[in-house]
């Protein structure tokens, strides 16, 4: 019940009857996910994962994180795509704007930028740090290159026990990272074979670096578990995940081809990035799928707002609302009132933010953009876990309603294939 879905501002665009007409298909999609009988059914391990992860694995993750904290206050997350976006989304959502947590995450292995790699190595050279390398196959080029540089720096800094500074999160089978780990003696965690990158934030992939930062990972899992319960048990009429999936597919069928995930809080910017991978990579195939974009309001009302209000009419909006802000502050009184703000005297700033949200919904719906709300209680671990499961479940259903396999990503291979040709990579 932590996350709610409100869609009254969609009903000008799709009717309740249309939504209800998808009930059977949505329930069928859910059952395929729960029973592993749909497309890509070898990659639905994430569906019941919040129940299946064992407390001993969770404890092992926490212990490992604490061990690394003793070796230095920096953990380099070496990974790309789903191997870092969930971690970054959670950390951005839950940390302070002016973060003074002594334990820091930095990100590497997510590009071929020589400037980024050089500046990262320069930054790390006189600091105590560890590395968590995250790659299912071990052969992701961006990540493998960075890991080789980082490993060499660790060897130089800690000749006798550099391997204690490394944790590998990889697949049990056919992973060169697993082979390397066993040879060099890194602590390992295994990603279940039936959980793909963009659905992996609730495994060690996300939990291990988040535990290093000090987040209560048990609470993340507890939120996800409650979301799974709700997904599994609630009827269509009361099931926010089935409803969200149905509404977006109906909008898409009517030519609304771009979904804007909007939040009125900068801390949710990387939730948007994570969400874009989840939906874009799950649905963007066979020349189908809704194009996912994200904005932070009200700031982006002053950049993208004009387009949303008056541009091409193929957008719909989904707003992430936080019911209780972390901090609130009351607008004051000014003797002179030259800035004409005294009309807000005594009103809380979050109240103003909420009016901006309501006003924007009115203006956008009037302008031709529907506006649904996904409502979360507050910014904490439990709600993060709930929210990511909410989106993963919705995305699985949505993909099945679209009749694609939401769990593969063959298109990602296309640039790699061309790149390996250009680089002359030997074929094994």
């Amino acid at each position: 019940m932590s996350v709610k879905y409100y869609y009254s501002n969609v009903l000008k665009y799709v009717s309740n009857e249309e939504i209800d007409s998808l009930e059977a298909k949505a329930l069928d999609a859910r059952s395929k996910l729960l029973n592993k009988t749909g497309k890509g059914n070898d990659f639905v391990g994430w569906v019941k994962w919040p129940r299946e992860i064992t407390q001993s694995e969770v404890d092992d993750i926490i212990t490992t994180a604490n061990d690394l904290r003793k070796l230095g206050n920096i953990l380099v997350v070496c990974g790309i795509g789903g191997s870092y976006l969930g971690t970054k989304a959670c950390d951005s959502m839950l940390s302070d704007y002016y973060d003074n947590n002594p334990y820091k995450l930095i990100y590497s292995g997510k590009s071929f930028s020589s400037t980024e790699m050089s500046e990262t190595l320069e930054y790390l050279k006189d600091k105590d740090f560890s590395v968590v390398c995250i790659s299912k196959s071990g052969s992701t080029t961006e990540t493998a290159i960075s890991f080789r540089f980082l490993r060499n720096l660790l060897k130089k800094k800690y000749p006798t026990d550099y391997n204690k500074h490394i944790v590998a999160i990889t697949s049990k089978e056919n992973s060169s990272l697993d082979t390397l780990s066993k040879k060099e003696g890194y602590k390992e965690f295994f990603i279940p074979d039936d959980i793909g990158g963009r659905y992996s934030v609730l495994t060690a992939v996300g939990l291990m670096p988040l535990a290093f930062r000090g987040y209560a990972i048990n609470k993340i899992l507890s939120g996800a578990k409650d979301a799974l319960d709700e997904f599994e048990k609630k009827d269509f009429s009361e099931n926010p995940m089935l409803k969200y999936a149905s509404v977006r597919i109906l909008l898409s069928a009517k030519g609304y081809s771009v979904e804007l995930l909007a939040a009125y809080e900068e801390k949710l910017r990387y939730i948007g990035e994570w969400w874009k991978q989840l939906f874009g990579e799950s649905e963007g195939k066979e020349h189908k799928g809704i194009f996912p974009a994200s904005v932070i309001y009200s700031t982006d009302l002053h950049s993208m707002g004009q387009y949303v209000q008056d541009g091409q009419r193929f957008l719909f909006e989904t707003v992430l609302n936080i019911r209780n802000p972390k901090f609130d502050i009351v607008n004051g009184f000014d003797q002179d009132d030259i800035d004409n703000l005294n009309y807000l005297f005594g009103k809380k700033l979050d109240y103003v933010n909420r009016q901006a949200m309501t006003a924007t919904a009115i203006a956008h719906v009037e302008g031709g953009v529907s506006n649904a709300i996904i409502d979360i209680e507050k910014l904490d671990e439990y709600n993060f876990g709930y929210l990511v499961y909410f989106f993963m479940a919705s995305c699985g259903v949505s993909g099945y309603l679209l009749d694609v396999n939401p769990f593969n990503q063959e298109g990602v291979e296309a640039y790699k294939k061309e790149m390996f040709k250009l680089l002359g990579k030997p074929i094994k």
Copy 2:
């Protein structure tokens, strides 16, 4: 000549003949911009601005920045939309990943987030700082609210000379911020009436905070001036700004409705955000306009890449390429080669990045997404100035080709109007 435009990977989608057929219209659009005879001609002050800004204004900006540096190492940029995005774009492009510049910019006044405001005030309360408040009218609600909080904190910290810690950048006419500045004795800079927010980065709006950070603002202007020369003087056949504008309008007419600005360097992320405002707010009107989105590759090839390769076919790509990276690094040799990377031994990482870029272009063009390149020499002030002028000039031409007024933004008023109703703002 600093910025080039390559479009051979567009010619599968639009022909050279089609591009040439736009010559007369593009030249006409340029002439309207230069001679102030097109739509929105009261807002084309930016066109010759790089020539018109006086050295004494530039010197005044630098002196003011240096004065503020003596009062504390933090400058709060209080502004929204075009009042901060250009500054942030430049600073992100030119600063180190692990920045150790002692002079810092922080951003406020760009949202109604009570959490952001509270954490900012908490962070600042025991630090020495100044504020630059940027608002043409002074009545932008987000900015005015934040400025009131920040002003009160400054008054508390520096009771006798808090006004020395404040710089106002505003309009000469009808600005409540101007009134307040004159009453309280803030240093002021004026934004020319004929330059709108998203075209203002080359005025004090961007230059003042960038000078505080220590950037050579004369070089930014020098780059912009050279871009203006090129824009003004070069024939259509050799004019990259006219070509870029023409290509995107032709693509748009063929149903390619989403433009993805892609860069292979994380430092360009906020160039993307600035660009989205520039084009989205200029063109997104009368139910027209290309929807602007941005990605950072190769990282986002592992999130949005699947969609770009295989999703709905209404995308086209424009890639920002940096010819010379700030730093490069050579891939090493590993005795065991368990990670199978020795085939890259001796090759520079920027070379690999470049192959990824070429490979991605091949894969995407094959998959149905055209791929043009905007090529800049390197990450420095001169190239920043050149690039932003390049985009502004292209955007002006593009807007005229689309037959909209690229210099208004009436749609932004819609949410404000509804918000003021909800908040009960008195009508003056």
